[in-house]
Amino acid sequence: MLSFPFLLMVSLAAGFVGAMSGMGGGVVLIPVLTFVGLDIKRAIAASIVSVIASSSGAASAYVRDGITNVKVGMFLEIFTMVGAWTGALITLSINERTLYILFGAILFVCWGALWIRQNRPHRSSVQDRFSRWLELEGHYFDKATGEEVSYKAIRAYWGGPLMFLAGITSGLLGIGAGAVKVLIHDLVMELPPKVSTTTSNLIIGVTALAGTSVYLSKRLIDPLIAGPVILGVVAGALAGTRVLVHLKNETVRKFFLLVLAVLGAEMIVRGWRGA
């Protein structure tokens, strides 16, 4: 069942859906790979390598366009890196049933994040001393509105520790956990939505690398799976990004809310029944 063409097609679809939703391919890829019989820990390991590719590819364009806030990213990476190690080590020590249930639960958290994010306008509060000391402010040119947007991040003292939890999620489940990171940027640090999404992409690469090193040391990264998965996810993400600009935000959101709910419920049920 796990032939090269099959893995390539599944990863292509996962990368496509992941890019359209902004959540990365892992949330779709891992449930599908486990559904066709792959051990969940190997699926997580293959997924986390592909996350490096898709997030770095996306981040490259956003960083060059000056939308990403590099300083926010560099500060928060400290926490996500340590979180990813912790998460990957937890994965190695817990049983598969628990992993299935955790994965399903995190998909529902992502569902909530997507729901909250789309229903909340961006606010702008007064910057606290710690965030000012960290130089967490910036500006970018918004091509959609033709305006220069200036902003100041706040509550970095909460953003850091919460990012540690996002890092645990990423390392534990082999996903970028972009939805969780974006939610922290949005709700806690009050970054503008575009800065929030693009900075999350930058952070995901380092977070995924930290997790990858743990899985590699346990020989869970199988090139037979990782090779086609990397190719498929990158190609799918490229295609998804191009299609995304032609679709209405609301259509994409409704579609992905449905996908997350179905996959989340399916993973929890499989974990409950013993996979």
Binding site: S56, V63, F75, E135, A210, I230
Partner: protein, 133 residues
Amino acid sequence: MYGGGEVPSPAEESSLVRMEKILGAILLSGVLASVSLIAAGYLWRWLRTGQLQLEYALPGSNLYQFWVNDMRQAVQGTFRPRLLINLGIALLMATPYARVFFSFVHFAFVQKNLKYSFFTLFVFGGLTYSLFF
């Protein structure tokens, strides 16, 4: 020196913009080269044997050994499909690592920003440590 939370000067702003351009280039070239190597490895395999399936384990018991092994084989010129695939995977893993290293160099020696030199050095040190897990 810019590092006290004050508003950046135009010179510091342009230095940051330059840094962003270089970071973007590192990420893009890393991913493109990595995907090209993996695709070339599979194409070579398919042209040589008529099939794409490859069953082997990644060499080395940690990321450092994996990189060293691949580089040694590449230097020795023992090219074959699986080495290209391994080099692609290794390069992919090296991409965020290189990005963090460059960020450290920029903050430390170009911007002379002590805080962010420390932050990036911490992440770089952490990632270096994880090479030997």
